[in-house]
Symmetry: C3
Amino acid sequence: MSITLDEVAKLVGGEVVGDGSVVLTGVAGIKDAGPGQLTFLSNPKYEQYLAETHASAVVVGSEYRDAASSNGRPVLVAENAYGTIARVMALFEQDARDVEPGVHPSAVVDATAELGADVAVGANAVILSGVVLGDRTVVHPGVYMGRSASVGDDSVIHANVTVRAECVIGSRVIVHSGTVIGSDGFGFAREDDTCRKVPQVGNVVVEDDVEIGANVCIDRATIGTTRIGRGTKIDNLVQIAHNVVIGEDSLIVAQVGISGSTEVGKNVVLAGQAGLVGHIQIGDGAMVGAQAGVIGSIPAGERVSGYPARKHSISKRINACLTHLPSLFARVKEIEKRLRDLGGED
Amino acid sequence: MSITLDEVAKLVGGEVVGDGSVVLTGVAGIKDAGPGQLTFLSNPKYEQYLAETHASAVVVGSEYRDAASSNGRPVLVAENAYGTIARVMALFEQDARDVEPGVHPSAVVDATAELGADVAVGANAVILSGVVLGDRTVVHPGVYMGRSASVGDDSVIHANVTVRAECVIGSRVIVHSGTVIGSDGFGFAREDDTCRKVPQVGNVVVEDDVEIGANVCIDRATIGTTRIGRGTKIDNLVQIAHNVVIGEDSLIVAQVGISGSTEVGKNVVLAGQAGLVGHIQIGDGAMVGAQAGVIGSIPAGERVSGYPARKHSISKRINACLTHLPSLFARVKEIEKRLRDLGGED
Amino acid sequence: MSITLDEVAKLVGGEVVGDGSVVLTGVAGIKDAGPGQLTFLSNPKYEQYLAETHASAVVVGSEYRDAASSNGRPVLVAENAYGTIARVMALFEQDARDVEPGVHPSAVVDATAELGADVAVGANAVILSGVVLGDRTVVHPGVYMGRSASVGDDSVIHANVTVRAECVIGSRVIVHSGTVIGSDGFGFAREDDTCRKVPQVGNVVVEDDVEIGANVCIDRATIGTTRIGRGTKIDNLVQIAHNVVIGEDSLIVAQVGISGSTEVGKNVVLAGQAGLVGHIQIGDGAMVGAQAGVIGSIPAGERVSGYPARKHSISKRINACLTHLPSLFARVKEIEKRLRDLGGED
């Protein structure tokens, strides 16, 4: 595909500075881009490459308008450079599909399953009784859909995903490979020295527009529903325990663990490797720092970090103090010596 | 299924307070339960819902006998409310099976494999030479059982599990989806600047009554056996390295990592995201807090937490001190000022 | 297979002390070894077993020459005991293959795929259009290879691995079960309150001689390439985000997480559960301690640990201080009391 910068601006918005007739054939990172390619600057760390890049044009926020256009290179100035380049990439994204509409002859699809229009089911996928797949949904090879599980319209279930019985996945959802939705929660009742399994008879509901990374685990509820709210994005290797409820448009970064029955609000960010104990509430818009250990509820809008998690401003101050802790010990020792000298005591 | 509270008490134990003839058709959480449903109270956090719940009856421990029965609702008083509700849920659990006994025509089962009575092998499962499956064991779709691997009686291997060659799984074991048993341990010998792979020729033994969560990794021993003791329960995304030995009835919570050759005793609890270095011993009944970093052996019965892990009582005191660390710096600065004033120095 | 200690020495190097005609039939750990078996000592923790082992011969480094031979047991003294035993184990490793050369009739291989000489494709594997597999490469059952993905010569892709479209895997690479290579990076552009997906159109390149553990996730680049350098070894459950670049011969231990666009050098060691933020550089030969939280770049050769990660020597000193922090508070309180007494104030 070839497209001019002027045409790009028409399709995705933004103001062209310089020669808008430049022809573009693809998108590349600012360090790697060559002639014919469009690049972008959104992370200030890469500002130095604005001068060096071989790209034919660059997308920037208004703060870089002058820096980007100073050497005559055509520039697309946009309010949100990263959002704009995302739109451009979608323009260029190849149409190649890994799975054609229709059911591959090697797939095993139960006769009671209901498949919408233009559904694609890949090789060796297994679809059990009562499964419902919405229009245009793609189920890649090796996927397992348990009894009465369902997926809405325009969703993509990548290769080797497992969706256990009775789980409900919405529309425009993407689930990456290796992820398990609806495994039994970790529920045991201690009896003497052994543990009796508590049956996990609930399910998982994944609402519309959610994206779930690779090798994620979302356990079914003991009773009731483990719920992932509309628009929430979950990164790889995240653990979501039984009866957890996550609100809308939250971001859960890789390797986070959320213990049973905890409720996470809307627009929450849980950074990588953070861990949350069970039965707490994380308020809307809260932010939890990477590797934080959250042992209590967090009010809406609050930012916490550290282990155990404290308000981020306090954690930062404690960390600054820790750097000087060895010298504090030395200072206290010196004080004690001087007090001994002053007091004539030992 | 319909059953009266009196009949429930006969089957699972406990004392009925109030009208035992109430008819029950299912189990639900205390917030969600409606007419006809049995609920329970085991976590004190939910005590407020005792008054509000719409359940037709409630299971409680003896400490809630009066609170639960005060409004006339029938109550089942049990020594262990959670254990009792687990038994009741097993009564109500539907009989629906995802996989019927027999071998699905799409499964690939080597002619030398030995299948017990009423074994079920799901679609597209792959069973290599010399595999042995005990009576009534269920192997779900997409499972891979390597050469000479074996499973005992009444076990359930969920969809898309991988069991590598020569691993031994006991009876009444449950393995959840995506889990890998018997991958090579991470063993390399440094030679100059590169790493030579050390062949991993041991296996994994999973004893009876173990449950293993989703996307867990249990590596085969370099030589010998990586062993999971009878009755131990392992949550999702746990890493168990080569030659680890875990005792009986221990609980390993999600995202824990155990390094090579470490020995974990009986009735140990490792809370979520804890990490253990290799070649140490964790004594029977020890408890390791969430996210703890364990760098040395732990005596039986000891409780540790923190990073690096210390006795829990000490970690708690250190954490309390950390909260006041910025003010301690201020206090020491003030002391130094007063000493300067006193001594006329500086 | 039977082989004398003299023959072993000829094949793998080292000096025989004692009777080199002893016949060996296998390798075992020092605690478990019995007659006819060769064992080894490389971890000083196990030195006590030198006297107790029932092995017929033992491989040791020169520092244990006398201790190992004192009781008359034949010894193979080698510069690198662990490297030597690794070579011996490779001698003994059985030739048994789980997958025979050729394409299993149940595998689904697109007509456009190019398969090298003696390639083995296991049952129910799925190989899409344009895939290239080098000579003698083994693709185990249940593996998914997406459109135009490729693997070099002599590589092993274990059961239930997912390799997404256009990813490139080198020669002599081992990928363990459940691992996902080429899943979409976690890239979203915030627009108002929701997140717009940024298409992830790059790929993953895994260079020669890399080994990747089980249930690992390596995301494809947003644009460009996520790269794992030659000879690097990655343990289980590791997260490698989009556009990460890892150098040669590095070791990434289990459950490590590396955020987007971070560059890791050669011969780096990242210990278990460590987390690295995005867009930083880890210099050649650097070592990051277990569970460390790395929030900035690290110079070549530096060793860091702790949360947040500091130079290891400093982290150790801070940790030592933390142990005494409660008593420091008591000492400061005592100082304040004495100052009050001295000054007559308050």
